[in-house]
């Protein structure tokens, strides 16, 4: 049911009651609302702001506001006086029993018209953002389109309202209760991307031969939300992104989908498309040697020792393009690198990353040896 229909005069019954007991109380008409703004800038709640002109009489006025079958959070309802010839005072807010309604008691020094803004949080209405990207065949750049999806299941019809996102101008649209609407949001063409492969040794099996099935190596595209890249005007909201690839024959192939994370300006957005089976990673521990044994005072028991461990990771590239692979390698609590065939980056104490370039149809073997320090038997 429409909210507006429930913004009503008080009933004749209450009028009579008031006449006899509270003679000073005047009734106020709630006119049609104006300038409705739906604020969608907070992903957790939608704020509605609407303006109304109240005709107040001198003395106490009661304004009745009800929202039957509309998903309003009652405690969020606020009344702000925007324009008043003479200052009015909101004395109290009361909630009648068993009704989805409230009554403002407003004191006015004279009979006058005041413009008020009523705002409230509305449940079951929100917006989603979705993305659609078309990637060039050589995977160097993509065209990004974004869509705004309004979902209104709040019980309140919103004909011709202004919608406000967390940046930019408001726009006008209409969304009825029960309706979902997908709108074009923005498009950005030819955004440069980088393609990356990740082998996480803590997650994936080390020996694909032992698994007996392909071990897919996750693949993602990375693009930066910067003005140089044709973006950078605002944060990219989180939402589902579907990626398509141009096939060189005027059609496209669906490459995969991922949840885009909220990406502030200047930050990279990573979109996983799928798993590569043309990159094969085989990891093996080749050596574990006990060193630096230390004994107790009686010298009859080893109380502390180190081990020297050697790891070997083979990356085979069966593709016809050079690939960039990140090896994520877990490390023990206390460790010290002794020798590494390639440079690495310490991500945190328990993980190091190797960024490896593997030429087309080639393989690279990464080996590293480290001391695991101070093991207690």
């Amino acid at each position: 049911m429409k909210l507006t229909t429930y913004l009503i005069f008080m009933t004749v019954f209450s009028l009579l009651l008031i006449e006899t007991s509270w003679a000073r109380i005047k009734l106020v008409a709630l006119p049609e609302r104006e300038a409705t703004v739906v604020r969608l800038d907070n992903p957790n709640a939608t704020l509605l702001e609407e303006e109304r002109v109240l005709t107040l009489q001198k003395g106490l006025n009661q304004v009745d506001f009800s929202w039957k079958e509309v998903q309003i959070r009652p405690d969020s309802i606020r009344l702000t006086v925007l324009k008043q010839p003479q200052a009015v005072t909101v004395l109290s807010v009361s909630y009648p029993p068993n009704e989805q309604a409230l009554i403002w008691e407003i004191a006015s020094p004279s009979g006058q018209q005041v413009r008020v803004r009523i705002s409230y949080l509305l449940n079951k209405i929100d917006r989603l953002v979705t993305y659609q990207a078309v990637v060039r065949k050589d995977e160097s750049n993509l065209d990004l389109s974004s869509f705004l999806v309004l979902r209104n299941f709040s019980g309140e019809n919103l004909p011709a309202s202004r919608f406000q996102l967390d940046y930019g101008e408001t726009f006008e649209s209409a969304v009825l209760s029960g309706e979902t609407k997908r709108m074009q949001f923005f498009t950005a063409k030819k955004l440069p991307i980088k393609k990356r492969f990740t082998f996480d040794a803590a997650q994936l099996p080390w020996d694909p031969k032992q698994v007996g099935d392909n071990v897919g190596i996750p693949v993602y595209y990375e693009l930066e939300n910067t003005t140089d890249n044709g973006l950078g005007k605002h944060a990219l909201w989180d939402g589902k992104a579907r990626l398509y690839g141009e096939d060189g024959h005027g059609s496209t192939l669906f490459l995969g989908e991922d949840n885009a994370k909220f990406t502030p300006v200047g930050q990279p957005l990573k979109l996983t498309i799928g798993e590569s089976r043309d990159i094969v990673v085989t990891q093996r521990q080749m050596r574990q040697q006990r060193l630096n044994e230390r004994r107790n005072a009686k010298r009859n028991r080893v109380v502390l020792y180190d081990t020297k461990e050697t790891m070997q990771v083979e990356i085979e590239n069966f593709k016809e393009q050079t690939v960039f692979v990140t090896l994520k390698e877990p490390m023990p609590k206390e460790w010290e690198m002794k020798k590494a065939s390639h440079s690495y980056k310490r991500e945190h104490n328990r993980e190091i990353h190797f960024d490896i370039t593997v030429p087309a149809k080639d393989k690279v073997i990464v080996t590293y040896s480290y001391y695991r320090r101070n093991i207690r038997p």
């Binding site: 449940n123 079951k124 209405i125 929100d126 979705t130 659609q132 990637v135 065949k137 995977e139 979902r151 299941f153 009825l176 029960g178 309706e179 979902t180 609407k181 997908r182 709108m183 074009q184 031969k209 032992q210 007996g212 099935d213 392909n214 897919g216 693949v219 690839g245 059609s251 192939l253 669906f254 490459l255 995969g256 989908e257 991922d258 949840n259 498309i273 799928g274 798993e275 590569s276 089976r277 043309d278 094969v280 093996r284 521990q285 080749m286 050596r287 574990q288 040697q289 006990r290 044994e293 009686k298 010298r299 009859n300 028991r301 080893v302 085979e316 069966f318 593709k319 016809e320 149809k361």
Partner: protein, 446 residues
Amino acid sequence: MRKKALICLVAILLPPELHAKIDLVTLPVRDQVQLTIYNAADLTLVREQRTLTLKQGINRLEFGWADTLIDPTSVYLDAPQHAGKVNLLEVAYPPNVKGSAIWTIESQIAGAVPVDISFFTSGITWRAFYTCTLSTDEKTMRLQNYVRVDNRSGEDYLNAQTRVVVGKIHLLDQIAELAQRHPPYGMPSSIMDYRYAEAQEMIAEEKMMIAAEPPRLFRAAPKKIIKEGLSEYFLYSIEGTETIPNGWGKRLISLDVAKLPVRALYRYDEYRYGNQAQRLLFFKNDKAHHLGETPLPDGKVMIYRQLADKHLSYVAATNTQYIPVEQEVELDLGAARHVKVEPVLMDYRTENYVFDFKGNISGHERIQTWQLKLENNRELPVDIEIFQHFQHPHWTIQNPNNLPGSYEKVDLDTIKYRLTLPARTKEYLLTYTLTLFEGERRRNSR
């Protein structure tokens, strides 16, 4: 039997304010349709070409997908021939209407506009399978690869350009679920009403329908399959167009190599196969094996052996993984009956004890003499690979001098022996001595 329903596009000629009085015009059928079918997920990308008659300015169309398995959130429209001049501004899913949406299209062109409409559907599947026929001497094999497409989408696809995709795709939702979801984008922060059981059941059902071909023109040769790589996917495009009515399946040959050299190997590895030797077949996806142009998709493999009198004998069925170009294929034919490997512990000693100051044992060595008893009861010589796993990485091995080919270290606690056994070898003994260092003796291991 599913109710057959067509995706319909209806043009609304009047502005939306006059919904009640509008004339509905059904558009002509699709001009062309392209199916891109995935096998790693229940997903098909449909791209159809239709000609819309548009007026300049805002046009409104109704798009309906009731009784199909289409994901309504995936529907997009573009006009490649009039890029930027025809835009799908808005898609509205009206309240209390299921399976239908109103499109708002802005057009700078008046008249007939060819447009591409793309969307995802579930219910169309494809899979690859192989038939292998070994030569009598087991040195070569005929390899045939088939592609089978099944349509249970609720929609007939007539004269569709058909492409199948090999690759592992990253999906957040099942298309079959999205197809059943109402409203299409779900409800804000509330539990969604998924009613996809029917669709799931239908897809899970592996009832094989006989692929009786509908009547068609006579063709002199089977259709070609054009293969190409794109990103992490491989695309097989079937020559010409295919008509795949709902409920029908279709099988096409994609590869046929007559004399592919193969290498047989028997492998013993208790960790993987238990205590029976496994029979394996190897070949490489490269030029030397008359392959190497495309990756081989994963699929079921049925292996037969050609007998002298042109009869066949069934060897085994297995699954093969996806094989990139230049990679070796390993077909596992199951446990071997005619080749045996049995490791036997022949001798056990402990030696070189060390003691601490209290006189307690603080270290020693365990010395094990193992005999690998090998048998080859076949008429052919066979290659055998034996994996041996040790309890920990502190070990050494002494090999007898007469051993043909020594061991290879696989990783810190695994070794591998490799040797060839002549035909009809009743018993061959391979002996090695393993020293395991325990306690403080571990310092001595290297």
